[in-house]
Structures are given as C-alpha cells and as structure tokens.
Point group: C2
Chain length 360, copies 2
C-alpha cells in the first residue's frame, strides 16, 4: 500500500496548480495605464509645494515603501522639500490608552483650523505593524477634523523597529512642512521608547492624563514628567472636576521638584474637557506663549539643531551596532563568551576584546 | 651691548646643566635589586590567594598601569583569580560631598570587621585624576578602619574616562574577592555617570543623605532614587533628629511612587549617625535581609549575569563608536554634515549614510 501511494506524498503536488492563470489582457492594459499614471518626482514635489494633499499622501507612501526604486525617489523628494521645511511648530502628544488623545487632538485641531492654521496629525507607534494600529488606525476617531480642508491625518508608518518608524516620521514632517502645514501634532502611546523618540523630534511635549484616576503620580512613568512641557488633565468635567483639580495640584507640586528646564520654561498643569471643548483655547494660549519664549531666547533654534545632531549620531551608532552583531562570527563568539561569563571563566572586558578582534 | 649678550639669550643654557649626575653606584645596585624583587605573576597570585594585602596592592597597581608589559601580566592575574572570585557581596555607596560618606564607611566598616567580615573599600571617581581625589584621596579620613587587619582601602584608579576607571574597579573587585574579602564597599560621588556605573557593578545600592537640609526631595538627582535599595539619612542626632525623621517620611513617601522593583525588594529609608555610631547595625541588618531575599529568589545571581552582559556589550559598543569617530575622514565628514544639517541642506539620516559609507 505504502508503495502505491509514493507518488502522492505530501511533497508532491499536481503539476501546474500553483501557476498563475493567463492574464486577462484587458485588466493588464488597465494596470499598465494605472502604473503609467503613478506621478513623477517632479509632479509630486510641485504638488506638495502647491499644498496638494493627494501629492503629499503619495509622497509619504513612497517614503514608507521599502522598494529600492522608491527609496531613490524618496531621497529626491525629501531633498527638494528640505529648503521649504523647518517652519512649522511640532507638538508631541502622549498619554496612556484611554486618556482621550484622539478626542483631544480632534478638539485641539479644530481650534487651530478655526484660527487659520494648517494642521497635520502624525503618529509614532512602532507596535502598529503588529497590532494593526492601536492609535489612529481608524481615522473616523477624528471624524470632524478629518473633514477639514486644512487638516491632514496620517497614521503611523509601519516598520519593524522604532528607529525605522521614527526616521519615516521625521521625513514625513519635512514633507508636511513643505506642504505648508503650520502645526504638526505627533501622537504616540505610552509604550516603550516611542515617547523619547517623539520628544526628540518635537518642540513641545504634552502629556495627557486622565482626571480622577486615584493616586495620580503613581501611574506616571518615570522620565515622562521630566520631558513634559505641559501636563493636560483631560475629562475635567462634571463629577470629575473636583478630582481633576486635586490632581492638578499634585502634578504641579511634583513638577516643582524638577530642576529648571534649559528652555527657561516652567511646565504647567492645565485642565480640559476635550469632549465638551472646554479649556482647549487656554491650552493653545499656553503653547503659544511657550513658542514666543523659546523663539526669542534662542532655545527653539538651538533645540532643533541639537535634535538633528542627536538623530545623526543615533543613526550612525545604531547602524554600527547592528552591523557588528549581524556578523555571523561575532554572533557565534558572543554566545560562547556569554557562556564563559556565566561560568566565571572570563571578564566582560576580556570577552569584549575577543569580539572586537573578530571584526578586524 | 646686544651683540655682546647674544650668547646668554634665554635660549642658551650652560652645557651640561640638564645632564644627570653620575649615578651613585651603591644606590644603583639597591635600585636594581629592588627591581629584581618586583614579584612575578605567580608570586602575586599566590599572595592574593593567601590573603596577603601587599600582593593584592601590587597586583592592583599592575592592573591600573598603562604599561604594555603590565597589561599582559594583569590579564594573567585576573584570569587566575577569576575562579576564586564572585563570592563577596558588593555594596555601592553614593551621596553628595558633605553627606558623610567617609564617616559612614568608617563606622559601617568597623561594624563589619567586628562581625568577622573582611572588608574592602574601593572608589569610582573619574574626576580624581584631575582633582587629585575628591574622595578617599586621604586615607586618614578613615583612620580607624585603615588600621584594621581585615580592612583594605584603595582609592580610585585614575583614568581619563569613566569607562576606564569602571573597568579597573571591576577588575580590582575580582582580585579583592580572590583575596577573601566578604564585603566590597564601592564609594562614588554624585557626579556625572559614575553613580550609574557603580550601580551596575554592585548588588546593593545605598544613597546617603544629610538630615535637615530643607526640602529633601528637591536636592535629589533624578534617577538616583530609582537606583537606591536604601536611603540612609546621616547625622540624625541632636538637634538634627527631628528634621531627619521628617525627611525619612518624605523619602518613604517618594519611594512609594516608584513601581515595585524586579528584585522584590521594597527600598527603605533609615536614620543613622555615623559619627556617634548610631543606627549602623540596623542598616547592616536591613542589608543582610536584602541579601537573604535576593539570594533565595534568584535575583542576586541573575543580576550579576545581567551586569556581566551589560559590561560586555557596553565595552563593545563604546569601542565601536570611539574607533568610528576617530577615523580622520569620518571626523572631517562629520563636521561637514553637521554644517549641512544646520543649514537645512540635508537630513540626519542622509548625513548618517554618508558617514557610514566612508568606513566601508
């Protein structure tokens, strides 16, 4: 019996089953003409500079693409947008899921648009490629803002690493600025290192908290308070108001514990109800004061310079590491050395030397 | 006149003035025999294993030396001490200048010695090569402890970089452990990154604070509280006692804000007066409880493994960076790219790529 069946083992398959069907020539023609229509770099750049959102979207898609030919196009587009970039203000927004980030951005964005600002909303969420977007995945969460002509909402670039996502977001900022957006809001969730990344690409960093969550300081992540230029307590309405006010005092007291910021700015805690549109214009006033302050004392310009330098060095250093550890003989030796370390047969420095000598 | 004096210008000197005098042959012989006496690696290692402090001192000096021949000897010594190392407990001690670190270590060390422990005191102070030792520079600051047979006090290794100092200290730990020391105290001052370095080479991290310094939390550096396994308020005596107790409450409240430690240990604030020898044995009790806890839950062993891995990767990565940036063409290009960044002519990522391509 076994002998009889030898030709239909799991390793066999009917000839031709996996071959594609003959192309429908009509569809093929349509596809070809569609392909032809994919805009040139020239068209995209002039579209962006003319504030055309379709061109902006297409260009961002090219930036996000991993295809070789797109990477060359992306370089060109960015290069040509650079001289027109750098003129917006960039605001980072973070907060745990449920803090009301989308509602806040909707409310805040609408206010900005009503003041004749052009607003772009981007996200940094390295988890989104796995979770299919825990933030902004569904544009309808900002259903009013998305309808505004002067608002542009773009979910997180996907990518395997935070570094990759951060790079694409920074490049997207350049394009958005070239397309005339005055305010760039960059949303992130309070997970991993993404907050630090967003902090290093924005001018103002805003921490959104929920009112009345109990011991307010308890839930706050270390390092976040230090980065915040303002803490906004959301849902400060109705029965929540009293707790929100108490939380405000607690946060202000905690903020006071930190040394003065290099920016000369003393972070403030503010209340709002994004849902009821309360307190939003006060927040914008505070942020405007911040920008007046840091633009006049030179901190704004200096921080952007420092951020550029940070990203340059960071990119270099992470690539150096990645390439070093990707070397197969390093990989093998690292395993060996870690074992020797665990067994107290070597020191970390001796082991490091062995690894470093490998790549020479 | 000027012509006459041309032979005695400031650039001239009498012939022979700078030449050494003829060697006194008796002294020369003594020196030679001294040199001959410089012990071999064998002698040093067996001295260390026999708990001979002179051999230990000499071996540490070899570790600290930059001479080529010493480096080879150091490697051998460390390698041969390794199997006998790893058995002590390592306690890091930090605090601002004036917090009373020396007095505390004197008092604490004497208690340990009275309990039949062998105590080694090391320091990590990368500034010491410049400031000629802001800590432990003067051994007489611990005049009682230094006389104890079972105590060994060694000031900071000098070095240009924290990395270098940290490495030498870690290697010294190995030698001290092989020499039978049960408790290694590693003192550091609250400057720069040296606290993080000491934290990564110790099992227990102790923050020494002054009582009654006013707003207690205000003066505390960010990150330190997070690292501390215990906060000790020193000089809690006489008129200071009341303020010290208040500070204790304030610290305990602040410690409570941090999430639970991986070690399962809840950091405690304790009072002491090192000068009056009060509260010292309570501190040792707490530390002993800590070690019982972490040795039984496996955290102790695991943390040492993680520390080894940390130092291995850290050494590799800092060397990769140093070597990369030391490349003259990278140096030149980096300057060029930073200028281009400042003038908005490139992006950090584009600039990084240019730099990385140079070293290929």
């Amino acid at each position: 019996m076994a002998k009889k069946k030898k030709n239909i083992s799991a390793l066999n398959e009917k000839e031709g089953v996996l071959q594609p069907e003959t192309l429908n020539m009509v569809v093929a023609k349509q596809l070809k003409s569609l392909k032809k229509k994919s805009p040139s770099v020239d068209e995209l750049v002039s579209g962006i500079l003319n504030q055309n959102q379709t061109a902006l979207s297409q260009a961002i898609t090219i930036i996000e693409s991993r295809a070789q030919k797109h990477q060359q196009q992306a370089k060109e587009i960015i290069e040509r947008c650079l001289p027109r970039s750098n003129k917006s203000i960039r605001i980072g927004i973070t907060g745990v899921p449920g803090a009301g980030k989308s509602t806040f951005i909707e409310s805040f964005g609408k206010l900005l648009v009503s003041e004749k600002k052009k607003v772009a909303v981007l996200t940094v969420d390295p988890s989104s490629s796995i979770s299919r977007g825990s933030i902004l995945g569904d544009k309808t969460r900002m259903e009013d803002l998305v309808k505004e002509e002067n608002a542009f909402i773009r979910p997180s670039a996907s990518g395997d690493t935070l570094g990759g996502v951060a790079r694409k977001t920074r490049e997207t900022i350049i394009l958005c600025e070239a397309a005339g957006f005055d305010v760039i809001l960059i949303e992130t969730v309070g997970v991993g290192q993404s907050e630090t990344a967003v902090h290093s690409m924005t001018d103002f960093f805003l921490l959104l908290k929920l009112a009345g969550a109990g011991d307010e300081l308890q839930g706050i992540k270390r390092g976040i308070m230090e980065m915040a230029d303002s803490i906004i307590i959301n849902k400060a309405d109705g029965e929540n108001l009293k707790a929100a006010k108490m939380a405000k005092n607690e946060f202000n007291r905690a903020l006071h514990l930190y040394p003065a910021k290099e920016s000369g700015w003393a972070p403030k805690t503010l209340l709002c109800s994004a849902l009821k549109n309360e307190g939003i214009s006060e927040i914008w006033e505070v942020i405007s004061t911040y920008f007046e302050t840091v633009k006049s004392n030179g901190y704004f310009q200096n921080k952007r310079k420092e951020q550029n330098k940070f990203w340059l060095l960071q990119t270099v250093e992470s690539r150096l590491k990645i390439e070093f550890y990707a070397n197969p003989s390093v990989k093998k030796e690292l395993e060996k050395q870690l074992k020797a370390l665990d067994e107290n047969r070597t020191t970390p420095f001796e082991a490091a030397e062995k690894l470093l000598n490998l790549s020479k």
